[in-house]
Symmetry: C2
Subunit: 349 residues, 2 copies
Amino acid sequence: MNHPVTSAKNKPTSIDIAYLTGFSQATVSRALRNSPLVSEATRRKVQAVARQLNYKVDKNASNLRTQHSGTLALLFFEDPTSDDSHINPFFVSMLGSITRACTRHGYDLLISFQQASDDWHADYADSKKADGIILLGYGDYLTYCDKARKLVEQGTHFVRWGAVLADQPDTSIGCDNFSGGRSVAEHLLEQGCRRIAFLGEASTHYPEFFERYRGYTEALVDAGLKVDDDLCEVAESTEESGYQAMTALLERKTRFDGVFAASDLIAMGAMRALESRGMNIPEDVAVAGFDDVPGAGFAHPPLTTVRQDTSEAGTILVERLLGQIRGERVDSAILPTRLVVRKSSLRNG
Amino acid sequence: MNHPVTSAKNKPTSIDIAYLTGFSQATVSRALRNSPLVSEATRRKVQAVARQLNYKVDKNASNLRTQHSGTLALLFFEDPTSDDSHINPFFVSMLGSITRACTRHGYDLLISFQQASDDWHADYADSKKADGIILLGYGDYLTYCDKARKLVEQGTHFVRWGAVLADQPDTSIGCDNFSGGRSVAEHLLEQGCRRIAFLGEASTHYPEFFERYRGYTEALVDAGLKVDDDLCEVAESTEESGYQAMTALLERKTRFDGVFAASDLIAMGAMRALESRGMNIPEDVAVAGFDDVPGAGFAHPPLTTVRQDTSEAGTILVERLLGQIRGERVDSAILPTRLVVRKSSLRNG
DNA sequence: CTGAAAGCGCTTACAG
DNA sequence: CTGAAAGCGCTTACAG
């Protein structure tokens, strides 16, 4: 009846501790979890032995038993084109704040990068590896909606960072893209710009950009200007795409004195294109972006942009998701934005 | 004897599929895992029903049974000072390539950010949430060594990105910091620099930086120059620290015509400080960094630096870790570096 | 406060 | 090729 003493090879189990302390395995389990059903003395004895053996509860076993994993999954959608080194810095900030929020709530975070086009690797929840999922990254919104509906049907717990629109099936958290876009356009108008270009794909497929665009057009119209389609150039959210969009715009010889890029990456590419043509920013062309990525302040010239509070965003994403997991009804949320004026748009003063 | 048909509420199990197909649960399990022990017809029937029910194997159950998790954990050490938005871009690249390498090998990735000073949250392996751990991020090397030794004793599978030195207890993967540092100094000398400052903490606590420093001093000595301690300024790897180090250097009124910053972030901060004093780069001072972070090429002026192949690094980290998990003996590895010359250091031509 | 027992949902010898 | 059975290591009613 001798219990094999834990060897260096095999991780200790609660049975080992039970044997060593003389208690039953059930009591050991309770003591380890600080159950009030266990006496102080027992708790101490058990925990001392556990520490000594470097015992850690087997999560696979406890998760199987309790039916939850204490883990959240972050699905990160990226362009098929992007490589290792070019993860959108805005999403990096989000990743940071989401990770921190998870830690605060005692959850672990599983991450997965995927092509927006692929079939989602969204089975983390179905396979019980995660209790819920956070969706991050741009992709075609309409395609997303179809998939989101399926997830909702299946009862998968998930939240998403993105545009908050009417009649969405999911819980979305996003910033106020419309008023952010409007504030940029108003600012450029104040700086004396009269022909303001827009760089970004403004369509129902990319509602974040579309809302920013709508804010921009509204500001123009309110200022008595008309929207000139010649000043709009499609771009996705990369530096390279911004460079190309600006190059295309310049080649069209359309006159413009301001640029609202739908994201900072686009803005940075656009500034590079402008500079390579010898144009001065902001004297010849005032430029503004959106996101306030780390680096926007170090750009040349420092970039005027719209700040989204990633720290708050991450916190809310995690909290709403955990609420959903607890079975609460949670709503979508729109976060305020803030215009950050820097040199790239300041023409006087 | 009627088996309750799976309701929308409860996730289906292999028992449900067994009931629906008429096979035993064991056969269902085999069929789902494409075991050769099962007939083609059975396999198809089982998998069809599984698909229909949106059945996914419960990972907690299968992990418990097989005793491995199919998951790797990435522990990311960061400065206590850093906030969400300032994750070192070099490590972001590593994160990208590690994630991709995991995906290729069919592993999931758990990530955790932690303060280097804290007790490590390294129990992912002990609690069986992960089969192995990847350590990333700078921190005091000597402190690390103590902890690494304990992990090795416990039989924890782990690899680390960092300096590869003699007598290390662990498996480390790092770049050739010494020759990288040497190549930078040689290049600056070729550009006519004679008084080259070094920015970074060169001590045994930070062996990566120390090796870069050693490469730098060797190049100077080989060129018949002497190493001037007055030209060295301690800095940690942040933009802000680089700015401050350069400011301190300038205030000391020591003459210098070149700067080797131990990392790109330091270099970028240093360039900002130089510019704010009206100095021209590279005419007055040639500058070079280390890492080739995304953004180095977009800096003003574009930054000369040493490229570390993060894609290769991530791949090797994951592969060696998986080898270790399989019980193979794996060695540390030193990856080659490549000098990337850009405008910040080009004084003629 | 403690213990004996059941069971979470799988995988895999063992037997046929 | 298939099934009955054991067991991975926990947590938690149930009984005392």
